[in-house]
């Protein structure tokens, strides 16, 4: 093949690397960072004071739209665009619902904002409410955030006492109420419409979309639902401008994001990094590399529901929405979990499927029954009871769950299963038949009476819970 000369016009020069220091998590390591004094001393509420009642709300929406900020809760939908969808002139009040349910396993970023910097969130809420002209914001926290709830509740009271929120926010003609609601341990309330159902005082049942919440949401009024991290970002973007935000990240995923690192690394924790850095850099530099003597078997990149990455994919992966989508996975909520080479993938998938079966709200049959099937079949593989063809059945069930339910919980359960099947099919097949018993050093017959089988798969059955419910140490 003849050598081709490179085209005269090169691709645009790569973005200059701008040094980055944490924005949202800048102060969380300081003592008393959650107090009002600390927040005011670092210029807190100044941005809100400047804009509320003064700036044209449409121009604030334009800034956020221009900044390219994408929702940090998982779906990555452009925030400014979402705000633009809010139905106007309906005669009903508009609501802002801040999603602090953070129920995706592997994610614990909002916890740090709520516990250590609640005023930062409240300022974001005030600015967002002014931008979308809403007079009532709900902040929904998961029930486990006990300290977060206490501190946020106290912070709301302080802000009210200072006149930042209330009948006349900042002395302007802008009444604003912020209500903090606590959940009580349901994963499904992290889904936006499920959360709205919970705030309305019901079971956290997701609702059919459309109508989308921006048209008919909380109490059937127009509602904007945003993640805690997204709302916390709003203040910084309005303060510093859209271009400031766009100097980090990639073209389609601008800005920075908080990632949570868990699993087999030396320094697990929360790290705020510009989008677009490589996964390797994140794990090796921020996470301090893997624990001694271990190598990567797989990485869960965006919370438990994100499809797995194999080590080869990890090498290719950068932390932005597009790169992960191109690898068949998703950035999700940014909860990265590293599974080391000693992890038994059948334990991992069984544990994962048990989670989704437990957390399915039970409205839609494909999810309610499908997650149960996935859990039981995963348990068969985990315990070595599997028959030939069970792995195909798993693939079939997973395929038929996707896209057939009100919300994406069924997809969230099916996606990891499909990726485990894709990348670790060999481990599924190894557990078929009696050979598995021998390999695992068990008696071939002692567990497979029908009664024992029934008991072990019945989740929560008393007395047999320790059979494979945690993880086997390999």
């Amino acid at each position: 093949m003849a050598e081709t000369t490179p085209p005269a016009t090169e691709a645009p020069a790569p973005k200059p690397v701008v040094p980055f220091s944490p924005v949202l998590l800048k102060y969380i390591h300081e003592p008393n960072s959650h107090t009002l004094e600390h927040f005011l001393a670092r210029g807190g509420y100044e941005t809100a004071r400047k804009h509320v009642g003064e700036t044209d709300p449409a121009s604030l929406i334009a800034i956020v739209k221009d900044s390219g900020l994408r929702g940090r809760g998982g779906a990555g939908f452009p925030t400014g665009m979402k705000w633009g969808f809010l139905a106007k002139g309906t005669g009903k009040p508009a609501y802002l619902a801040v999603n602090g349910d953070e129920s995706e396993p592997g994610t614990f970023k909002d916890r740090h904002i709520l516990e250590k910097d609640p005023h930062q969130l409240i300022e974001g809420v005030i600015l967002t409410c002014w931008a979308i002209q809403s007079n009532h914001a709900f902040i929904y926290l998961r029930g486990e955030f006990i300290l977060g709830y206490q501190r946020l509740e106290a912070a709301v009271k302080e802000a009210k006492a200072k006149g930042f929120i209330g009948e006349k926010s900042f002395g302007k003609d802008f009444p604003l109420k912020i209500t903090v609601v606590r959940g009580a341990g349901a994963y499904i309330c992290g889904e936006e419409t499920g959360m709205l159902s919970s705030i309305e005082g019901g079971r956290g049942y997701p609702k059919i979309k459309p109508p989308f919440p921006a048209v008919s949401g909380l109490f059937k009024c127009p509602t904007i639902v945003n993640n805690v991290e997204t709302i916390a970002n709003v203040t910084h973007i309005i303060k510093n401008g859209a271009d400031w935000h766009k100097q980090w990240g990639t073209e389609k995923s601008p800005g920075y994001k908080i990632f949570c690192l868990a699993g087999a690394v030396k320094k697990p924790g929360v790290y705020e990094v510009p989008l677009g850095i490589t996964m390797r850099e994140f794990i090796d530099v921020y996470g301090g590399g893997l624990i001694e003597g271990r190598s990567i078997k797989a990485v869960i990149p965006g919370g438990l529901s994100a499809p797995l990455l194999t080590p080869e994919m990890v090498d290719k992966c950068t932390l932005d929405y597009e790169s992960l989508a191109s690898l068949g996975s998703m950035l999700g909520s940014g909860g990265i979990t590293v599974l080391h080479d000693g992890v038994d993938m059948m334990s991992a998938i069984y544990n994962t499927m048990r989670f989704y079966h437990h957390e399915s709200c039970g409205q839609c049959t494909p999810c309610r029954e499908g997650t149960g099937w996935l859990e039981k079949l995963a348990h068969k593989h985990h315990a070595g009871h599997a028959h030939a063809g069970d792995a195909d059945l798993l693939a079939d069930v997973a395929k038929n769950m996707r896209g057939r339910t009100i919300c994406v919980l069924a997809d969230a359960a099916a996606m990891p299963m499909q990726s485990y099947l894709q990348h670790f099919r060999g481990e599924f097949d190894k557990r078929v038949g009696e050979a598995a018993y021998v390999e695992r050093g068990r008696s071939a017959r002692d567990e497979i009476t029908p009664a024992a089988k029934r008991e072990t798969v019945a989740h929560g059955a008393p007395g047999v819970l320790d059979v494979g419910m945690g993880m086997d140490r390999v």
Binding site: F108, E144, G201, K220, T337, V343, E359
Partner: protein, 264 residues
């Protein structure tokens, strides 16, 4: 409002004050339910039938709706839970490398409890729960409203010892005694828990003024024709073994789900 068999408990004045503070905050009474359930849980230590009736009263919903809530959300404390309720995270990030199992084994070694069990005196209970959102420091344990990370080894042992000492108990008291499997089902409430004058099962009360449901879609709320069935002759507060009630979908004792029965 009068109940033929009055609810024995009442909310404290502080609790009522908190409730009235919320009335200004929320657009309607029903939406206060999550917080009111937390309030009665805090007041009475757990959510029992009376607490559910009070919450239903305060929020203007049927008791059946409250029962639905309490069984859907797994973190509400029920009478079957121990006074000290250990919730051990068993989701993947915590369970990796057997950290959940370690913590559970330690609890079992101290209190003789397997997940899903409570001590016979009702002081301690242990259960597995799903993600508690502190995945970088496993194992994560929540004890009632206290949250602990990296709760393992001597730290966990010392904590349980502290609780035992506070209750004047010793580990040996529990290791030899049989534990009880927690039964988290709700009992069928007698009809006297219905609101006075309430005609329809599951209907909202007429004084629950909800401006946004009243117009538009809510207008389609034609009066329902559901009729309250006549009271059954068998008391329904507890399933009777061998009675016709077994097998009517309430489940037998063997299928009690210790982690909350909102699935399957």
């Amino acid at each position: 409002m009068t109940h033929p068999a009055p609810v024995k408990k009442t909310l404290s004045p502080e609790g009522m004050k908190q409730f009235h503070d919320w009335v200004d905050e929320y657009p309607n009474k029903r939406s206060m339910l999550m917080m009111v359930l937390r309030l009665v849980e805090e007041e009475f230590g757990c959510i029992d039938d009376d607490a559910m009736a009070i919450a239903a009263d305060l929020c203007g919903v049927n008791v059946a709706h409250v029962q639905g809530m309490v069984t859907f959300y797994t973190h509400f404390k029920r009478p079957a839970h121990g006074k000290h309720r250990f919730m051990v995270c068993a989701t993947l990030m915590c369970a990796l490398d057997g950290k959940t199992d370690e913590a559970l084994a330690q609890i079992q070694a101290k209190l003789g409890l397997k997940p899903g069990q409570a001590t016979a005196d009702g002081l301690f209970s242990c259960e597995k729960v799903e993600c508690l959102a502190d995945c970088d420091q496993p194992p994560v344990i929540q004890k009632d409203s206290e949250h602990f990370c990296s709760m393992r080894g001597p730290v966990l042992d010392a904590y349980i010892d502290k609780l035992l000492a506070a209750e004047n108990k010793a580990s040996a008291d529990y290791l030899n005694a049989p534990a009880v499997t927690m039964d988290l089902r709700v009992s069928v409430l007698p009809q006297h828990y219905n609101f006075e004058g309430e005609q329809n099962v599951g209907a909202r009360r007429s004084d629950d003024k909800d401006p946004y449901f009243a117009a538009g879609e809510g207008a389609a709320d034609a009066p329902r024709t559901t009729v309250i069935p006549p009271p059954l002759k068998t008391p329904l507060t507890a399933p009777v073994a061998g009675s016709a009630l077994n097998g009517t979908g309430r489940g037998s004792n063997g299928s009690a789900n210790p982690t909350g029965g909102h699935h399957g």
